[in-house]
Symmetry: D2
Subunit: 324 residues, 4 copies
């Protein structure tokens, strides 16, 4: 081939280590670049701009829809985390490919949908952009701790920001004074400032602001209490630890097996069936606690990486939110 003289340069591509370790949960986290300036330029509401958050969530739904391998996503402020199951082999787990695919798909929707959420506000250069990174988590506990970390961060930041902007917008302080007032304050102090000085009950603030947004495929919730009386835990623990790979999962161990994130391999036909079912499922957009066990126990399909029971068409979003 005529270009062989130059093609040696391809060998340099092999030197960026890229394959993410098999059997680990992959989290791709995106962060808005320079969103401080951007929020000023487009005059975002403070402390939270609902249009901006709705746009972030809509872009994330776009990503979840285009990439059925994703099992979970979580967004706060200008950041979004996307989770691939530890069994996922998409793009052979090449980090750069996974990161850029998520990041550019997200950006694509963000720009495309901007007009729907910011009607009458035209985007002008410099344009919004995002940086991203991939992190691996070996165990379910590590993954759940990651999610908890982000949700605790959301809570801490939102409580601070709500109080800070109340002091400014309703209390007439400037930024420096508000910052000084809050220095050293603990959560209870902020609750009190909000309540006593501004008649704001923080607990009544919108769930989206307090808890962030969690996305997942929207199957029928499961009821852990309804499990058969036989020791499901025993099965689960054996499954995790002792049997040779490929041993079929014992009956009745669905839920807890799921929670360990360990599965018997699927046949090709089964895998294809799963894929289709996944694409059929709607993406739920909720603002719920992901720290406690309940979230994971009622949605075992997230950690199992297997599909759940598809919801009846008649069920609507409102019901969904209540059930959580």
């Amino acid at each position: 081939m005529a270009n062989s003289k130059y093609e040696y340069v391809k060998a340099f591509e092999r030197c960026q280590p890229d394959i993410l370790l098999p059997n680990t949960w992959i989290v791709i986290r995106l962060d808005g670049r320079g969103f401080h300036k951007l929020t000023a330029k487009y005059e975002f509401d403070k402390p939270n701009d609902r249009r901006a958050l709705d746009l972030m969530n809509a872009a994330a739904v776009g990503v979840m829809t285009e990439l059925p391998d994703l099992v979970l996503a979580y967004g706060i402020s200008d950041e979004y985390s996307f989770v691939f199951h530890k069994d996922c082999m998409l793009f052979e787990r090449r980090a750069a490919k996974l990161i850029t695919t998520i990041a550019t798909t997200f950006t694509s929707y963000y720009i495309h949908l901007w007009g729907q959420y910011f009607a009458g506000t035209a985007l002008t250069p410099p344009m919004p952009s995002f940086d991203g990174r991939a992190v691996m988590y070996p165990s379910v506990q590590n993954l759940r701790d990651y999610m908890s970390w982000r949700q605790v961060d959301c809570h801490i930041n939102n409580l601070y920001n709500t109080t800070f902007w109340a002091l400014i917008q309703q209390g007439g302080m400037d930024g420096t004074a508000a910052e000084k007032r809050l220095m050293g304050s603990v959560a209870a102090d902020k609750h009190e400032i909000l309540f006593k000085e501004f008649s704001i009950n923080y607990n009544n603030e919108p769930e989206m602001f307090k808890k962030g947004t969690v996305l997942f495929r929207d199957y029928e919730l499961e009821d852990p209490a309804a499990k058969p009386a036989a020791d499901p835990e025993l099965d689960a623990s054996s499954q995790t630890q002792l049997p040779a790979r490929g041993t079929p999962a014992p009956k009745g161990s669905g839920t807890l097996d799921a929670l360990s994130g360990t599965n018997a391999p699927l046949s090709k036909t089964q895998a294809e069936k799963e894929r289709k079912k996944r694409q059929k499922a709607k993406v739920a957009v909720e603002h719920v606690d992901v720290i406690r066990d309940e979230f994971w126990e009622r949605r075992p399909w997230i950690l199992s990486g297997r599909t759940g029971r598809l919801k009846q068409e008649t069920k609507d979003g409102a019901e969904k939110a209540q059930a959580a």
Copy 2:
């Protein structure tokens, strides 16, 4: 802090190796994801769709404008390569950050400008997206070989595609027949098919299709022949190899020093001045040979990473193109 219990998960982020080796040229290459389907969906012209290429170029100009650290970019088909100078320290040379910033900024412009180039054709999900990777090249020769590789690829692919689609569109063949016809053919064969059967002189095809598109900051071209009679090469070679770091560059060695990509460090004031000058320069969009020396000798600022002389305001793009 209340969230310290979970914050240990941050430690897992350190394990993705990310710092690109100092003193190497960084190439970030983007590729359209699934553009085969996309070109069918939006009915791109074959073998080249000028609107689509113009959109790619416009998005790349957006990237070059937002990231003054970039010294060069080169695009063909649905791929674009962006080059950071080997001295560049942007984002501390963290790979994931560089890749995602380039990839999402490009995507942002691509979607934003779509309507200008595809008037009347609305984008619908699934949305365009791009994957990206970073490659390091230690020497100027490696970098130039990379550029040559891409431009030779452009030439080979375009000659093939031009002939293939002539056989189909004007020769009435189907794809299989055209493919069969071209199997084993060399460049001369394709030139002949085009000329004899379709009266197409390949040399008259648009430069953009034959050579791809190269972007750079548009300073006054330099004339290597006009250099002082003293041995500039001697200076250049000493500069590259022997002196302790920080030795001031000998007089008159500008051009060739530039071509080695080796520079004495700048003071903070100088660096700031350079930065401003860089932002002032227009981004040239040209379709020229980057394989031969001339391209690099007349634009020494590309390899030196230092700014050239700003063009007079009166000079326009047409002149620019001719001068190349």
Copy 3:
């Protein structure tokens, strides 16, 4: 400092990604370099040289003794694998440091002890050397599958080699003929050749040759059957999956908790105590099955990373071997 002009070169060291992912099992595997030539030069017995294997094992015991963080080692032929517990933070989990420390300590003992095992045979250049690599395994199952892989390899290779060398040494064949004879043969064929033609019952071959050598800290074996009747598995499974980090392990869950490799963190005093107890324990050198559960169930301290009950001084190695 006078040398600051050159010290910038230290920055280049940051670019080799080095931190092994937390919470993964680390396996360092060493392989003899060019041991084919070495076995010829020093006339090793074929198919197995007991002196050479004893020397390998003695060097590995040296490594285990100097690095109390190691929980397990496994050797066959000229290869040795060393296992660090997934909680191990030695050298901050820096790969190059872990690999070279293990590799050079092993080499150090190998050369130092050579004379004890090859009395009268002086080492001469070129000298024995080893290459090494680090591999991470996220789950206990992955780690056990790694160990099983190596032990199955040992079995397959040893059965082949035993038959191959019987054909040569006792059957008078040359290498080519022996190879040809064995081509396409399955295990049963080789057993039959050995038995019928050379009256060798493969099952009576030395355990070291058939099973390789496994090293671990030699605590009192435990009896899984003697566990309390309450659901230990339930505890184990909850421990693995559900509770917040740091929850104290439920009573009676010792064994199975251990088998999941998940532990509550230790206080500094506890950690120091553990460390001392680990250094006190002898290193057991055994030739046992590591594929079945029994090995792991009777030695729960391997996967738990916690020390077991120290053996009585009076117990000797022979008893130890029987108990396994």
Copy 4:
């Protein structure tokens, strides 16, 4: 194959990024582990133990002899750096393999030769071991700066240690007092203490202590001044920067071409011939300045990676040392 069930674990090995970037100089640096304790245990002389340094150097000569791809090595105290030419493709440039091969070969000789340098002092556990790392340097300047960094470090440390131990051994101070005395002192102060208080002229100290030890293949020194009058630098600079890969080097450009570390590729026969010539060359063990140009100009084969003219058998080591 019977073991296929477990063999999937091999896939986990691909995740340690390992290929060092082509066209970069590779430095493998070894450091003695815990040599502070070791020097106490074996009662090394302070501040320098000639036997210990000779043993380090002898081990390094062993490494250089076994690995003809190495072009240079430099040792001070308990550390040794080994340099592979940027064109070196040994082990496909896999980092772990290069590091462990160098580290274990070095260790092997260190232990093997211990008795020759420490007659009557038996090694006992814990055994000496070394850790190692690989660093890549893209340019000749970076590599030379690395070497300069180490040699400046050697000088600074040795001047400090010589003065520190003179204060203790001859001045009767204890460590704390000596340390205090030297706090804030500059080089001139230390020279004066040595000279005035202990009649030691630091300049007369052994070269090995002051400059460290540099190893290279011992070809005939070249005389840069004897080069043809034509511009060799011009050739060198063109060679480095402009021509297409594979252009034959212009005549007379040997020396400076070498200094840029850039070479036309060799044919297989040439490469084989070079290899043999390299193995024939003795390894020089010298204590010379590697910071100034002279060292590199007179030994152009180091940076060129090509062999020089083999020395006459009659020349001995003494002459060699003088010539440098």
